[in-house]
């Protein structure tokens, strides 16, 4: 107990004896700047609306520094950093979080050997008013030695190079960059990196990027080409979650830029991010991002695998098709949804089968069709595989879409069909030309319960029967010249077919 008390006294005494240098007014211009050192703190006041305090220090070699100005109650203050060689007009970094009573800080600023100035003044927001009683503390310290980000890296021409396989450590700091006048992200603090690509359409470069989670930050990764055009944006995860780009395919050689920023312009000067770039091998069996819309759909032959990052990520594929053939598409994935579109982008089928297996057993689309895959999860990446089988079309098979009376397919003596997706309905039109009694012979599908309804000429159900599994049933019903058959399903989507035979009775 005695030792603990002694220790507390020593610590308290040390704290009390910590002497912080006070600014020496006047220091209101470059010539009057107070000299400070790295690893030092200095107190100051913003005494009047126009008061601006200048401080200067010299670096003997390249150094990363952390600069912080403590909060001033009721005042929005700011500081700018510039070099002696560039002058006050060439600000290296201007730090202003546009808030009252909050500290201004930059976690990491790279300064080559030279002389630098820091100017502390009012910020741009709120009324400028001095307060002679409130003191701020300006501190300048070397930043964490593990940081490899080189600030300022806020623009394409100051972008920092990142090599394949390497990892860069940096900060989402400061909150704003008032020098950023880009209309798409005005005042947004961005860290920009670049990398080189050697690729062609036949042999695309496959890029993976990962960015670690940082508390309070909803991070965004944007990839731009050499002209600054956005190629892909990853904004899948929410606040405090890691972000990534997986399997981005780049088909043109040249430099590409990676822009990292906090979506809501929040900062975290304490927790570092870890950012890495990897180059993979191109495989036609693996999706290439970005394939997030019809125009960027990946070509697909027989099989392809991919990953959807979250519910906002949609992967598109295009399969060319021939007339007279039909295609069975299966999508295997734990928690994914899939849809089929024709060449006019009209949705034909959609399924989010919970069992992890989605089958679209009979796709007829002259010229080709699109397949989209998305995740049912909001944030967890989902892997999937799309497989396609091609068949010679048989005449008696249904032609989707036939999901409504309007799209009912005319049938005569028999028809075969599939339970194509969850919620599928098949409509058929029977047109006999006279009133006839018909015997219907129906064969169902394994593990599926089917109901078959015969309607009147207007489509109102007259008789409904159910068929369980692959059993066969027969029933008779009178058709008043014309009628519809409606086939509905429950149970598992299957690649087995059902059949309906219609025999006229005397």
């Amino acid at each position: 107990m005695k030792y603990i008390l002694l220790l507390l006294i020593i610590v308290f005494s040390a704290e009390c004896s910590r002497k912080i240098q006070f600014e020496v007014e006047p220091n209101n211009n470059l010539n009057e700047a107070n000299e400070i050192n790295i690893k030092s703190e200095v107190k100051g006041k913003i005494s009047s609306a126009s008061d601006k305090d200048y401080f200067t220090f010299t670096t003997d070699s390249e150094v990363n520094v952390r600069i912080e100005v403590s909060a001033l109650k009721g005042i929005n203050h700011a500081f700018g950093v510039f070099s002696a060689s560039g002058g006050e007009g060439a600000v290296i970094k201007y730090v202003d979080d546009a808030r009252k009573s909050s500290p201004e800080k930059i976690a990491n600023l790279n300064l080559p050997k030279g002389k630098y100035y820091i100017a502390v003044s009012h910020g741009e927001r709120d009324e400028k008013k001095g307060d002679d009683s409130a003191e701020y503390i300006l501190s300048v310290y070397p930043s964490d030695s593990s940081v490899s980000e080189i600030e300022p890296n806020d623009f394409f021409d100051s972008a920092q190079k990142i090599d394949y396989g390497s990892e860069i450590t940096g900060y989402f700091s400061p909150a704003f960059n008032k020098l950023n006048q880009n209309s798409k992200g005005r005042y947004r603090e961005e860290d920009i990196f670049y990398f080189s690509v050697d690729a062609s359409e036949e042999n695309p470069a496959v890029i993976d990027i990962s960015l670690s989670a940082v508390k309070g930050i909803n991070s965004v990764i944007e990839i731009c080409d050499a002209d600054g055009n956005s190629v892909f944006t990853a904004d899948f995860a929410g606040e405090g979650k890691a972000e990534s780009v997986s399997g981005l395919g780049l088909m043109k050689s040249g430099n590409y830029f990676i822009r990292i920023y906090s979506k809501s312009m929040t900062e975290n000067s304490e927790e570092k991010y870890f950012f890495s770039l990897k180059k993979g091998d191109f495989s036609p069996d693996r999706e290439l991002e970005s394939n997030d819309d019809f125009g960027k759909a990946n070509p697909l032959q027989d099989k392809i695998s991919g990953t959807v990052s979250d519910s906002k990520d949609i992967d598109y594929f295009f399969r060319s098709s021939e007339s007279g053939r039909f295609y069975s598409v299966s999508v295997l994935g734990k928690s994914v949804k899939a849809s089929i579109f024709d060449k006019s982008y009209r949705k034909l089928y959609s399924s989010d089968n919970a069992s992890g297996s989605i089958i679209f057993p009979n796709i007829f689309c002259d010229g080709g069709y699109y397949i989209s895959v998305s995740s049912k999860h909001t944030s967890e990446p989902q892997d999937y595989t799309v497989s396609i089988s091609e068949y010679e079309a048989e005449k008696e098979f249904e032609t989707e879409p036939n999901d409504s009376i309007k799209s009912a397919e005319a049938v005569e003596n028999s028809v075969k069909g599939y339970y194509s997706y969850s919620g599928d309905k098949d409509y058929y039109k029977i047109n006999l030309g006279s009133r006839e009694k018909i015997k219907f012979k129906i064969r169902g599908i394994d593990d599926t319960e089917m109901t078959v309804s015969v309607t009147d000429a207007l489509g109102y159900r007259v008789k409904t029967v159910s068929v369980k599994g692959s059993s066969e049933i027969e029933f008779s019903e009178t058709i008043d010249v014309s009628a519809y058959l409606i086939v509905e399903f429950s149970g598992s989507v299957s690649d087995s077919d059902y059949s309906i035979d219609m025999i006229k009775q005397r």
Binding site: D456, A457, Y460, V462, S476, T478, D480
Partner: protein, 169 residues
């Protein structure tokens, strides 16, 4: 004793070429058999059977308000086996169904179905709203076409009035 009385009524109807049997009276019609004529023409005043020899016609003369006039049909059971259904029409319209039956006594029974537009399907109406009686016994002939008319008066107690006749040339 009761059966004899019923037979007497039906036989009288057959002899006169037409009969009306009201309410719950079960009906038996009898007649003599003869060979069918494929041409459909005979020397008598009655039309010969071709595709059918029994025709059931059902209508409802008591429905006059369009709002109450529902789309409906009648499912028909012959000798307790489902044999088909009538055409579909408004309750006020004639609906019919034809059968070709061998010479014998037969039982015909009907069940009324009306359209539930919300559900998109026809539903059997409650027993209390079915015609009363909903059946008739009759003897079919293979040289005449028996017309069984059921006037289902749904708006006045659901009484079913059967009228029997032979189709004339």
């Amino acid at each position: 004793m009761k059966m004899i009385f019923i037979w007497f009524l039906a036989a009288a109807a057959a002899c006169s070429g037409g009969s009306s049997v009201m309410k719950k009276d079960p009906v038996i019609l009898s007649g003599s058999a003869s060979n069918t004529n494929p041409s459909g023409i005979s020397g008598s005043e009655f039309k010969l059977p071709y595709n059918y020899n029994v025709k059931l016609i059902i209508k409802d003369s008591t429905v006059n308000n369009p709002n109450d006039d529902r789309r409906c049909f009648y499912k028909v059971f012959l000798n307790k086996v489902e044999a088909g259904r009538s055409t579909i029409g408004l309750e006020s319209q004639d609906k019919h169904v034809e059968f070709k039956l061998e010479n014998n006594r037969h039982l015909i029974k009907v069940e009324k179905y009306v359209l539930n537009e919300k559900k998109g399907s026809y539903e059997k109406v409650n027993n209390i709203d079915q015609p009363k009686p909903d059946f008739i016994y009759f003897d079919s002939l293979n040289d005449r076409i028996l017309i069984i008319e059921l006037n289902h008066k749904s708006a006045s107690g659901n009484s079913g009035e059967f009228t029997l006749s032979f189709e004339k040339k």
